[in-house]
Subunit: 544 residues, 2 copies
């Protein structure tokens, strides 16, 4: 709409809306309010139009009920072109609002995350929720990277809302380089985004608590991490009969897969497939494993190995595999003809040794973890499970996963060692391990158990003036209390006492402080303890 | 790369990388490790290749330094196609990492935001950082909407990273509707995004503290909001000599503009332009004002009015404007011929009355605010300034802005009344006011003043095993202390004592607890108070 000629507005700017049908582009009368140039010849207008203007301008129309202008700036009769349809009042699909009751729960959860992290001497960090997409692209067919919330920003940079926090951690560690004093013990609580198909209870954003230890190659680090999660569970009322940790080492799997001719390039990809066991039908798993080049028998054997739930059985299986190679080498040695056959024999021996060594290391790690679990006091929480590999490509050693023993929920948390992540970003590798713990499943678990905390608003005082003229006095009282560290809900309008009492109940106030004329003149206020009903007059400077 | 035939991997999966040049798609020898089918006829291989394989497979090569695979999963010689260039280790342009030292500062700031909000009885809320773009589109030429971080999500929804929190608040209030008990007193601390050209100190994200009161039409609400900001300033060491608030009411401007024939449609747009005064040259301002249809004289008069810094001068100006209209009406009444002229006279009178009324209301609001400021005890912090209108389209009444008195920084915070925002989203309007307070300028101010707090890591205890075998014992000690609420940094590796002392200093530990063999056998540990150097042996169950 082109600007309306100012002359049309002289009487009243709103006139333009009403007069326009009759007066489009006609000068009604042109008076500059500053210069008082007298009436030029006027074009006649339709008196009925002017009447309707007059009534439209009546002051009662200027109340608060009528506004609908998109600019949201002024009262007045609605300008049709500016009236908006009601917007979708829900947050975008898959995201959440946090009204006060939800926010109290979130704060309670985060507070526990923070307190536990601090008990363990971890320092808090954070990274941008928006990162370069390159940080999250890995060639392993992970679910996570197919669900990136990515876009080109206005500067044509390819960016993504972070689906997890670990890559940002790695980036920051590389950036800081030698200036960091190892080991780092860092924690973060950040929102992560995944664009996934919406199913029951699955959202597109969640908050994740991460704890990471950078610079410790020993399994004490993993033991410490699991200890912190156990400490967290205990604090919020979850016991070892509700929740357990399945523990495994990817090194075991790596050696087993080696013996079944799985290229190391494919290792991460196979882990990602295996992670879907119990999530998709076993036939699907088999198909996917075959599609990356595994033979039918390798797949069958693999699934059998994955079903192992005891460390000693695992050791047996490893010895079996290595033994087979030793038989090979014996055979080759016996039938060897010349240098070529000799080398094949040596290679078989080397490989058997590597498998025993590699798996042996893995088994030793796991045994140490179980031994430390005793010292930390959480033995009953953990168990070996060869099928746990976690769905992220970058894990290299011990992996673990928190699960509900009732078997109703998805994994509660998961983590592991990722000693090779930094080099995938071009940095120097550092031993590293960590975990992620989402804010969704744990709440479901607490709900199922019926131990979700009931968190009500908590304001210690409600202060109310008994007379409109005493609003300022009530403000003074509120400020005195607040300066003493007391939380105060100040009633900002004149309201009946009944209303004030109702509000006091809603906010769980302990005291109602009334500022009335008689007391105020004496420099006093009336204080009512709401639990007991006890009421007294207290001097302003004695108010605590 | 197609999957390598499994037979090629039997000796060692890595062989494939080395053998491929000679053996592409040839079966080297095909042995199933499970079935021991004996040697088929072999194709001869180049012994030199096999030698290089043997050396490549030596265990020393299998260390931690060589990895470069993109999958980040396993050690091994780098596979060239997977070696990545070093990624950009900086966060995306205009965004920040929060390493521990920065995070401590952020937490300190947010802690103060939270504590003040709670002192005032406000409840915390939050909304998604990603919202529908429609929520932020207003027809007022605001800077904020030209800088939206917006994109189409995978479901082709037009979304945007929020540039501010208020529209989400409005959305949630409409959504909750009648279920809410008014007045709402809500606060939020959320990250907001603006894609703006990068200049010194300007970033593309910042955290914003918001406090809003919904449901209170009286100016007590604005007074309470400013009081909370003053309380915050005082807590962090900022005084009225550092910072002030400029206060105005958009209602004043609205009436002044009316008399200069500015359509109400353009009011918000004019406010957005006026907000740039002191940010861009005055000639630019004049040009922009003219471009929306204001005459030269109106622009000049407007700028003169905006320079008013006292309420009484403002009242004078308003009376002058209304007086002019009264002269009109007198003139028209005198020269009136018939109903038409009579109506013009009436209209002039009505309008003069409205201006006096509207502005009178505005002046009364401002006077009440100044009076309440006295009761709240922050009179010396606030001053009237007609030029302050704030850059958001939706303000309708009192607006205010926190500024540094040294005049070096941008606005520290800003807010005002926005009684018409809800209807622009199709909801029923509710009286509302609030403010936004960013995390950037305040930090600059604290730096300039030299009162940025020095926040060091704080871990109460450092626990260290003197012998590798005592790692588990040290873990037990750590857990005992943590269960008693003590924060503990557990040394997870065998480290020289010198290293441990250095770390103790870095984390500001108060006690060093050493777990040595002799003491441990007696169920004791050695406790050193680091400040005094005092050392003692303490029984495990007496450890506090």
């Amino acid at each position: 709409m082109p600007p309306i000629p100012s002359s049309l507005h002289v009487l009243h700017p709103r006139l333009s809306h009403y007069l326009k049908p009759n007066f489009v582009s006609l000068s009604y009368f042109s008076i500059s309010p500053r210069k008082f140039p007298l009436s030029r010849q006027l074009i006649p207008i339709n008196p009925r139009t002017l009447f309707s203007v007059a009534s439209a301008l009546s002051p009662t129309e200027n109340g608060s009920g009528g506004g609908g202008g998109r600019s949201g700036a002024l009262a007045g009769p609605p300008v049709l072109e500016n009236v908006m349809q009601k917007i979708d009042v829900n947050p975008p699909k898959g995201t959440r609002d946090f009204p006060p009751e939800e926010m109290r729960l979130r704060n309670w959860l985060f507070h526990n995350f923070r307190e536990v992290s601090q008990l363990f001497g971890f320092e808090e960090v954070d990274y941008p929720v928006l990162e370069s997409e390159a940080l999250f692209i890995r060639k392993a067919g992970e679910e996570i990277r197919d669900q990136l919330y990515c876009f080109d920003d206005r500067g044509n940079r390819r960016v993504a809302l972070r689906p997890e926090l670990t890559p940002s951690l790695a980036r920051l560690v590389i950036q800081k380089g030698k200036s960091l004093s190892l080991p780092l013990k860092w924690f973060a609580i950040g929102q992560c985004w995944r664009y996934e198909r919406m199913t029951r209870g699955r959202r597109r954003e969640h908050y994740q608590w991460n704890m990471d230890i950078i610079g410790v190659p020993e399994v004490t680090a993993e033991a410490e991490l699991i200890s912190s999660i156990v400490t967290f569970f205990k604090r919020i009322g979850i016991s070892a009969s509700d929740v357990g940790f399945k523990v495994n080492s990817r090194k075991v799997l790596q050696e087993i897969l080696r013996s079944y001719s799985i290229s190391e390039n494919l290792f991460a990809k196979v882990c990602v497939i295996i992670d879907k066991i119990e999530k998709i039908p076993v036939d699907e798993i088999k198909k996917e494993l075959k599609s990356v080049g595994m033979s039918q028998e390798a797949v069958d054997e693999l699934l059998e190995v994955l079903s192992i739930k005891s460390l000693s059985k695992l050791e047996g299986r490893i010895q079996h595999v290595a033994g087979r190679l030793l038989v090979f080498s014996y055979f080759y040695a016996k039938h060897s003809q010349g240098i070529l056959w000799h080398m094949v024999t040596v290679e078989c021996l080397t490989r058997a040794t590597e498998i025993l060594g590699g798996s042996g290391e893995a088994v030793a790690d796991l045994k140490q973890l179980f031994s430390l679990a005793e010292k930390f006091g959480y033995s009953e929480w953990i168990q070996f499970d060869a099928s746990v590999v976690r769905g992220l490509a970058y894990y290299t050693g011990i992996v673990f996963e928190g699960f509900d023993r009732a078997g109703k929920l998805r994994a509660i948390c998961g983590g592991g060692r990722y000693d090779r992540l930094l080099s995938t970003f071009g940095g120097d590798d550092l031993p590293a391990c960590g975990f992620g713990f989402g804010d969704a499943v744990i709440i479901e678990l607490l709900k199922d158990k019926g131990i979700l905390p009931e968190l009500s608003p908590q304001v210690e005082n409600i202060v109310c003036a008994l007379d409109h003229d005493l609003q300022g006095a009530a403000a003074t009282v509120a400020i005195i209390l607040r300066e003493k560290g007391q939380t105060v809900d100040l009633v900002l309008e004149s309201k009946p006492l009944k209303w004030v009492f109702k509000r006091a109940v809603r906010i769980n106030a302990q005291r109602l402080i009334l500022v009335g004329n008689t007391e105020w003149k004496k420099g006093m206020v009336s204080v009512k303890i709401l639990a007991s009903g006890e009421q007294s007059e207290i001097k302003l400077d004695e108010l605590e």
